[in-house]
């Protein structure tokens, strides 16, 4: 049920901007006089909406409600003024050394499973930089032609110098390939031999983000985003590195995977890989951040420890009042139970890709991945069905994620009491007078139909998590924050229809943020920071016996509430 109207600063005066032309409007390093009239108009609109350089959530929070969303070729209807496009920014193909499928295979599956956008992210590396990054592009262009109602981005899985992997992707344009190629050749940790956790390599990662920002600023590419993938898997992404990426280029480095892919990796033997869910089966190594506890290397309800721990690393970032969003993706390389085999006669090093896959006749029960859209979904509130709008929505944090189709829709609004539905949505900041009463309304469309495992998930419980905004962290390696906890839980116990919940924050006299989490309630345990912080959080996943369909969660991104001084 949408609300059918817009609540904020709708501006009819600006002219439509083409791809690439909108980005400079929000880049405050470009003076007003250097903007075109249309760009200047867009920037003024941002300013009037309080969306530029204001408040605690300055640089990256650019929620824009300027244009009414319209239905897409896929028949999607707008809700709360946005098209909520499910997507996946972490997908591999035959252009990865550990991949197998064609681009079109992944796109067709993602499309069939309901995705409105996908990012092709083959691994960075010498062969990919030399051959694959070029060869994959025509396949992506062809997929865009063939599958009209799914946006197909070209990206790569960056070996972040001194850190983990991350998705880097760009908006389509004439120079997308050459820009990605230059980026990979100049800044990929594998290409540059810069994997070790040294200050020099950490600086190279920042330089890479600066390169992307500069490429957008110079309009070489229309837009670019970076998200950290499986951030806690091997302890490689230290808290200060994550803060460093975010603070260096907040319009590029916007978030991380809240849940990794490879969600079938914990399916028990003999009919599954029998490993750690998400392939989170490692421990600390030479390059790991020494402060991380042993449990950080495991998943909790399929989610990464940084996100799953209430009051943990993600909350410590949000408590700074700065944007850092979470996503959930497939990391699809080879699909659990699939019968494909790598094409015969393949020579990856010579050709930059494997030959097309063939039918092998034997289900691969050692594979730990799902097709894009089959299990993990990142739902982005997009103004229109377009590459730029999708990236804007992701950058704005208008994002929630779910596993196994736990719920079908989520509309969240925060506003002053009685006006909750006219307030702000995910990723945005509600400005109120000190002492105003604030309420959060949550309209949840339940699953309503079977998921891809052929059952209708039941939403058992919804938790509201609230934290104090305490400003920039003095310790850049902090990974806890003291005043974040579950403040309200709702028992739902339904699988169809819509539920509307209202949480009253009461009088707000200090900056806070709220975020949501929900579960099928099958596996819960007190949170890692104690039952008083999180009485019913996700359990640590069982190694070798984690059927992901029996442990479903959704998470929303936050809304900030800032009382005026």
């Amino acid at each position: 049920m949408g609300h059918g109207h817009h609540h904020q600063h709708h501006d009819h005066s600006h002219e439509p901007l083409g791809e690439g032309e909108a980005a400079p409007a929000r880049d405050l390093t470009i003076p007003d006089e250097d903007l075109s009239p249309a760009q200047l108009s867009r920037r003024r609109m941002f300013r009037r909406a309080g969306l530029l350089g204001a408040g605690l959530t300055a640089a990256g929070v650019l929620g824009t409600q300027a244009e009414a969303a319209t239905a897409t070729p896929g028949g999607r209807e707008p809700k709360d003024g946005y098209l909520w496009l499910a997507g996946d920014h972490h997908i591999h193909t035959q252009h990865s050394g550990d991949g197998i499928y064609r681009v079109i295979d992944q796109v067709r599956h993602g499309n069939a499973y309901g995705l409105g956008w996908v990012v092709i992210t083959d691994h960075g590396g010498a062969t990919h930089a030399k051959i694959g990054v070029d060869k994959v592009n025509p396949d992506i262009v062809a997929a865009r032609e063939a599958i009209k109602d799914t946006l197909v981005f070209q990206g790569l899985e960056w070996n972040i110098p001194a850190a983990e992997h991350g998705t880097v992707f760009v908006a389509p344009g004439r120079r997308e390939v050459e820009t990605l190629k230059e980026f990979e050749n100049s800044f990929d940790g594998s290409v540059k031999g810069a994997g070790a956790n040294t200050p020099q390599n950490e600086a190279l990662a920042i330089a890479g983000l600066n390169f992307l920002a500069e490429s957008v600023r110079k309009r070489r590419i229309p837009d670019a985003l970076f998200l950290a993938n499986h951030p806690a898997r091997k302890g490689l992404d230290s808290p200060h590195e994550i803060r460093g990426w975010r603070d260096a280029q907040p319009s590029i480095a916007v978030g991380m995977e809240g849940a990794p892919g490879h969600q079938a990796a914990g399916m028990p033997k003999p009919h599954g890989p029998g490993g750690g869910r998400g392939y989170y089966d490692g421990g600390p190594g030479a390059d790991s951040f020494p402060g991380y506890p042993a449990e950080s290397y495991k998943t909790f309800g399929g989610f990464d420890w940084m996100t799953a721990t209430v009051g943990g690393l993600w909350d410590s970032l949000l408590a700074e009042g700065k944007p850092w969003w979470i996503t959930a993706n497939s990391d699809s390389h080879t699909v659990y139970g699939d019968t494909s085999e790598r094409g015969p006669g393949s020579d990856f090093d010579a050709n930059g890709r494997y030959e097309d896959p063939v039918y092998g006749g034997v289900p691969n029960t050692g594979a730990g991945d799902f097709w894009p859209g089959y299990y993990s979904r990142t739902h982005v509130g997009s103004r229109t069905f377009s590459y730029e709008a999708l990236m804007d929505g992701l950058r704005a944090g208008r994002v929630w994620v779910d596993h196994g189709g736990l719920i079908s829709g989520l509309v969240v609004r925060a506003g002053t009491d009685g006006h909750g539905r006219r307030g702000v949505t995910l990723g945005e900041t509600l400005h109120v007078r000190r002492g105003d009463r604030v309420e959060l309304t949550m309209e949840i469309t339940l699953a309503g139909r079977p998921n891809w495992a052929q059952f209708v998930p039941t939403l058992a419980r919804v938790d509201v998590i609230q934290g104090d905004v305490t400003g920039p962290a003095s310790d850049k390696d902090a990974f806890t924050t003291p005043n974040t906890k579950v403040v309200q839980s709702y028992e739902v116990g339904k699988s169809s229809g819509t539920v509307t919940l209202t949480y009253r924050l009461g009088r707000v006299d200090r900056p806070v943020y709220v975020r949501l989490r929900g579960t099928d309630g099958r596996r819960s345990a007190p949170g890692l920071l104690g039952a008083e912080v999180d009485p019913h959080g996700p359990q640590i996943d069982v190694h070798g016996d984690a059927d992901p369909w029996n442990d479903l969660w959704f998470y929303s991104n936050p809304i900030w509430i800032l009382p005026r001084r």
Binding site: A196, T198, G275, I540, H543, G544
Partner: protein
Amino acid sequence: MTSRPATGGPTTGEPATNGPTAAGPTTTRPTASGPMMVLGIDAGSRSLPEAEHVLRTVARALGLPGGTVGCTHFVPAGLAGDEPHIACSLAVPGPVPPPADVSWASGGERDGPRAEGAATAAAEHAARRGGRVVTFPGHDLLTGTMSVAAIRDGSAIERVLVLASPGPPGDDTLVVTNDHVRPVWRDGLMTLLTMPAAGGRITPAEVPDPTPCCADHT
């Protein structure tokens, strides 16, 4: 545990059962064969398997018995080379001849370009405040599936914990060892960290062959 300087300073026994130990740098608590010294070794290993290979090679060259306590230790960038890496430590019965081809530290002596890493490893081991234990009394008996009690009784492991669990596992809880048991020094105790496994069992948090960065599952 209070922290100790990287080298030097006598270590007094941790648990009350230790009794006084021989004073002197990097001296650890007595084991079955009396006071020991700790030899630190640093070959700049970048991976744990590489470091374990160095550890076993040096132990063999020195003729140390199989149950000798040998550990790996993380060394941050800048301490003994530009890259973070892994040093090793071995409990030795007394002064030993300097091992070949590696930086080392023992007692007040040290040599080699990575001696600082070796000294750090030796100090962590001696103080039982850090390090991952690769070889230890009884380690070769920890195979198959065993109870928590059998692991504690049959080896130098003093404590078993389960990650993200409020209390220790019951003595009868079965541990699927995967024939790969690497306890760590924590709170002065040789501690085996485990995680939940299928069938109500537990298994060491460190698995024998963790998935590499880009694993091929085709």
